[in-house]
Symmetry: C2
């Protein structure tokens, strides 16, 4: 099949996220993946210690991943991304188990939280592009019967993403209102990334 | 797997749209499909003759499909949907071939169009729920080289949806701005439907 991709080599995604890989592949972008060797929790703790806001935390984490993979494969065009979830000033993390997921969902219940998604591109160790986009999601007031049913139906999936939900799956039942771009919610703002890739001559403009 | 679905019988989708089926299945809603036996183009021509706006056209088409399937299977809870695309006052239709798709895309290029998605529920021939939601999409200015590459890469897919694009696929390359709920853009406003299904006792609330 002909594609709109103009480079000889595929894009290199510095991530093992299946969702991000799927977003790029859906847009017919040839992609390879490489897991970045960075200690995300350590970087995050340091950034929060310096009172960075959650959108900046997402950008710094994405940059750390992109830079690390670029140092190993300098000739490749690399994309990296990260997403943070914040309710007011409080930043959330992937829950370790169903109990933590329940506690998080109880905090999010009936309120509006933000998802901040950062995407960066690197080549030769240089950051060539950086963008953060935010979405705002309003959760319904979740009663205990619904919470039990949701956690039982979702199973292990609640530990797979920050917030304990996947909007593209069972998580849609949690929400009364969703504002923001779909790819931003999934963790990789696709429209700004494509705009950069066109400008860089990697995608047909 | 446990689900949030509370009825003995699956939801009956009055549509053969794979995208709509996938949206419902992603939310873990058990679904069967039945193709409605209605002449959509004839209904649409009649509605346009009466100067109905594109959002009302979508609602009437969804209702015609829901009513027809409900007349055949009155005991089942039925969901039907329809989507129209309008640029200003002009309503678009699925292109018949690549040439028509190109002509449509040239009209949409550099401008903002609306997608109106209607969803209805029927039981015993009665319409129990109806909702129309709109999204607004702004296309980039598409040059001839891009248009050639896009049409070659998209192939037959351009005739599969009104507007000649699939936003969840290669079509994302066409856009500079997308405003509206993702499921509305895909043709089935999921959040209002789920709210109705909770109120109706079909989904865990």
């Amino acid at each position: 099949m002909r594609t709109l991709w103009k480079l000889d080599q595929p894009l290199l995604l510095a991530s093992t996220s299946v969702t991000r890989l799927h977003l790029l592949r859906s847009a017919s972008i040839p992609v390879e993946t490489k897991s970045p060797d960075v200690d995300e929790r350590a970087i995050e703790a340091s950034l929060q210690h310096r009172n960075m806001t959650p959108d900046v935390v997402a950008l710094e984490l994405a940059s750390a991943k992109g830079a690390q993979v670029s140092s190993q494969m300098p000739d490749r065009l690399i994309v990296a991304a990260d997403q943070t979830l914040a309710l007011g000033a409080e930043q959330f993390h992937k829950p370790d188990d169903a109990d933590q997921a329940r506690a998080q969902l109880q905090k999010l219940s009936g309120r509006t939280h933000a998802l901040h998604s950062a995407v960066v591109c690197y080549r030769n160790g240089q950051r060539l592009f950086a963008h953060v986009e935010s979405a705002h999601l309003t959760m319904r007031k979740l009663g205990p019967a619904f919470m039990d049913a949701y956690l039982a139906a979702a199973g292990d999936a609640v530990t797979k993403s920050v917030g304990g939900y996947q909007l593209e799956g069972l998580g849609v039942h949690l929400f009364e209102r969703v504002e923001g771009d779909h790819s931003t919610i999934l963790g990789l703002p696709l429209l700004p990334l494509l705009a950069y890739l066109r400008n860089a001559g990697a995608v047909e403009a």
